[in-house]
Amino acid sequence: MMNFPTTVPTEAYLILSAVLFGIGAMGVMLRKSALTMFMSVELMLNAVNLSFVAFARHFGRLDGQIIVFFVMAVAAAEVAVGLAIIVDIFRSRRSVDIDDVNWLRG
């Protein structure tokens, strides 16, 4: 019989969360499409959510999970605003390539 650990240690969640956060951050820096960048940011936020839930479970308390609700609501609002702005950008420039958006500089 294989000897599985009886619980998933909190560290595992945290490492996964950190990896997801890192992937999200890399996505923001490497992808050119504003939409994809935005998705990457959402990935970062959700990675943090995972951390919150993991910590809450670790402490045996609920507050971490409540925080996740707040974060999700905030993220939803951010998504709505972000999509609106990206659509606006697309309508005026026919592109969502973020590298094209560099008039303001210096």
């Binding site: 009886t6 308390r61 609700f69 993220a75 939803a76 609002a77 709505a80 999509l83 659509v87």
Partner: protein, 145 residues
């Protein structure tokens, strides 16, 4: 404070919780098997099957019709707008969930706060309704515009 009370989890659930990872192992194996079969079939058919590509075969399948135009089409802005509104109202609903769970147990030191909690949710819903009215009046819900 409410959150400092450790979660009131029933004893049997707690016991199960301690075995949670072990319980998931069969599911994990099942998933692995499923993936293996799916990938295996594709790979094997690639090796075993005969390949005689023709133009008609390589063309995208469109119910027997000749494909027309670009596969990537722009959607009307309406879709985006609707999607955004959906996301917003959808996510707001998550605040109802913990509320429903806790509503009947809102009794601290013999005092009953159920009606108060009901009122609170009414305020929250009121704000959502305000947003709905706003969206309505701005004609964001009119499909034919």
């Amino acid at each position: 404070m409410w959150w400092e009370v450790p979660c009131q989890v029933p004893a049997e659930v707690q016991r199960e919780n301690t075995r949670v990872a072990f319980d998931y192992v069969p599911i994990l194996i099942q998933i692995l098997v499923a993936f293996a079969i799916a990938i295996g079939v594709i790979v094997i058919s690639n090796f075993v099957g005969s390949k005689r590509p023709t133009a008609a075969k390589l063309a995208p399948y469109e119910c027997g019709m000749t494909p027309v135009g670009q596969a990537w089409r722009r959607f009307p802005i309406k879709f985006f707008l609707t999607a955004m509104l959906f996301v917003l109202f959808d996510v707001e609903v998550i605040f109802f969930v913990p509320w429903t769970v806790i509503l009947r147990h809102l009794r601290v030191g013999g005092t009953d706060y159920v009606l108060f909690a009901l009122g609170e949710m009414a305020v929250f819903a009121g704000f959502l309704l305000l947003g709905y009215v706003y969206v309505w009046k701005k004609r964001a819900l009119e499909w034919e515009a």
